[in-house]
Symmetry: C2
Subunit: 379 residues, 2 copies
């Protein structure tokens, strides 16, 4: 029996007719194929077996009580390889990529150089002794999600059915990763464009499963909890009511979702997309809500590319309630931020933003909402 | 009598033989010349009088309870002008710069396009009503500090005497700006290099005087207060004791200052430089401490440039106690961060850092400290 035996053929039936098939990769990682329709997945990863990198370190910064993950093995990771060597394309003659099959719809596989690694038998959690972290290991999970096997496209050019599969994968990963006792918060995000450090141009995202609440999530949790305590209300619900009332920052909406530039946007283009009936996380989304996401997602990202008529670099991140706290006050929403303030001009995070955390905006949110609304969409 | 009369000739005698002379600029802003030795400053700014930009807005983000300053007038600011049009050089035939005199040592003048503007008569402070900011104006102070009138140099190539004048200017500005009731925190910083968005290459820094505690300062204040409450000790003092005990992250030191890579550094190269006898802010530094700063400042920044043999982009920011709180627990230190992780490779703040605030480091702090120590300094 090969090592593959315990995974091979393992299937899960999800919503929207999506079937997930799990297979083992050559070095022991797992790849999950998400498919609509009758597809059999059994391709074997024939690459030579490589050693997996060890776990990194977690260190607490006593000046701020924030964690830094130190993953020194990541320094050597692939950096903008040519298209014919893309590790996120399907395998083809001359290319043994991360995906053993010769085509795929959507896949999610364990990151080869994770910032937060799967716990091994003798892992050590960090212990804080005064200002000193007694060294602990950086455990959790980092996964890569490939949105399509087409190399030369982008999220906003995918068919709606394809985006629906991506959405189903995000729901599935949140559901499954939530079961791990090591994981405190699950964060799917996409970095797009070299301007935000993307090292692989194939359309893909990442799913970080943190062993702690990331600082910004912690801050959002505190604000939502305080608001709930003072008013009995859910913060994001009130924010959306206010956006609907003000109107001038709304970009678009459909029956289930609304997209707006937030009142105190920190980036030249910042867009929040939220379900109108609010939910704590992906696992609480109804199928109707999930089905209504692809059209607004495409529209919003097409509007972003349309502002200057160039593909915009962006970070698109899903905020949701942490796994084990704040579910009654935190709400799922998709945050898209772009640092381009004009053709040829980026917003840099310099002294005020980087060293002090205080953001300066050169554009009014009402102006950027207007620019986004004015974009003529492709037919 | 001209408008200049109330400023012209106004002089202040500071430490290290530095004399500050205040003069009015054509549009009503103030420029302060800091000089060692007998220099008379009376150059008149002959540029046509321009209208000053109005005050920006301050908006609270209810999701995080953080302020964003919206300064839409900044969009039009100068962007990498050619050397012969540099607004930070001294005035010469064909160039009417921000500095009316034909040479200078160190000057500090009010920023032409400030993110936080000087209050005008009918300014309005923001009022928070639930999740809604009733619009208020972005008041405070933004100043520009020119480190030298030589265009083609950088901070680490200045003579020590010159850096001593810069230090005296920082002390003086902190002392004076602390008197304004609108100002909560004073933050001198330098951005160096186009990679961090520098729009003027002349060696200069900025001094931001915020009307609120910037988020990172607030976080540092909370951590220091908690530590003091639990232990009765001052956090930065204990951190420095720990760095001295561990030793492996120390880069250099002299009688009064110590420079180290912090234990949980967030950037490929991050250096903290702190006075050994800790003080709350610039106003508490002794003259001996101030005198001992230039040599370690030059050395640390020369080591940074020496790591890859190229001028490193960096953000060098002074953290100090806020004006009106935390003086018993917060301590002055200089934080230098660089995003270059290798020649040709930058660290970008992508999904994890930007959207979630969780930093991933590719290099161990002990490794970067070793690299910095190994640099051979120029004679």
């Amino acid at each position: 029996m090969s090592e593959l035996s315990d995974l091979s053929g393992s299937q899960h039936h999800l919503a929207a007719g999506v079937i997930r098939t799990d297979l083992a990769m050559a070095d022991g990682r797992t790849i999950r194929y998400y498919d609509q329709g009758h597809v059999t997945r059994k391709a074997i990863d024939n690459r030579p077996k490589e050693d997996r990198p060890g776990l990194g370190e977690l260190r607490l910064d006593p000046l701020t009580n924030e964690w830094t993950a130190i993953a020194a093995h990541r320094q050597a990771r692939a950096f903008l390889p040519p298209k014919e060597l893309c590790p996120l394309c399907a395998t083809k003659p001359g290319l043994d990529s991360e995906i053993a099959d010769s085509s795929y719809q959507v896949v999610v596989f364990d990151n080869k150089s994770p910032s937060f690694g799967t716990p091994i038998d003798d892992y050590q959690l960090p212990v804080i002794d005064g200002i000193k972290t007694k060294l602990g290991q950086s455990i959790g999970k980092c996964e890569v999600i490939c949105f399509t096997d087409h190399h030369e496209t982008s999220f906003n050019q995918l068919e709606e059915d394809q985006i629906r599969i991506v959405m189903e994968a995000w729901r599935d990963r949140t559901r499954e990763l939530s079961k791990s006792k090591h994981i405190a918060h699950i964060a799917p995000f996409e970095n797009r464009g070299e301007e935000v450090g993307v090292t692989l141009s194939h359309p893909h995202g990442q799913i970080y499963a943190y062993p702690f609440l990331p600082p910004r999530t912690e801050k959002m949790y505190r604000a939502a909890k305080k608001f709930h305590k003072e008013t009995g209300k859910v913060l994001l619900d009130e924010i959306i009511k206010r956006e609907i009332k003000d109107g001038e920052r709304i970009i678009t909406q459909n029956d289930h979702w609304i997209a707006y530039v937030p009142f105190a946007a920190r980036y030249p283009f910042e867009i929040h997309v939220a379900p109108k009936r609010s939910v704590a996380d992906f696992t609480e989304l109804s199928d109707e809500q999930a089905d209504a996401y692809p059209s607004i997602a495409k529209e919003v990202l097409q509007r972003l590319d349309g502002v200057f008529g160039i593909p915009m670099a962006y970070i698109a991140a899903w905020h949701q309630a942490p796994v084990r706290k704040g579910r009654e006050v935190m709400r799922l929403h998709w945050q898209i931020t772009s640092i381009r303030r004009a053709p040829g001009k980026l917003k840099y995070l310099a002294g005020s933003e980087s060293a002090f955390g205080a953001f300066i905006m050169d554009l009014k949110p009402e102006q950027s909402a207007q620019q986004l609304r004015d974009v003529r969409l492709p037919n």
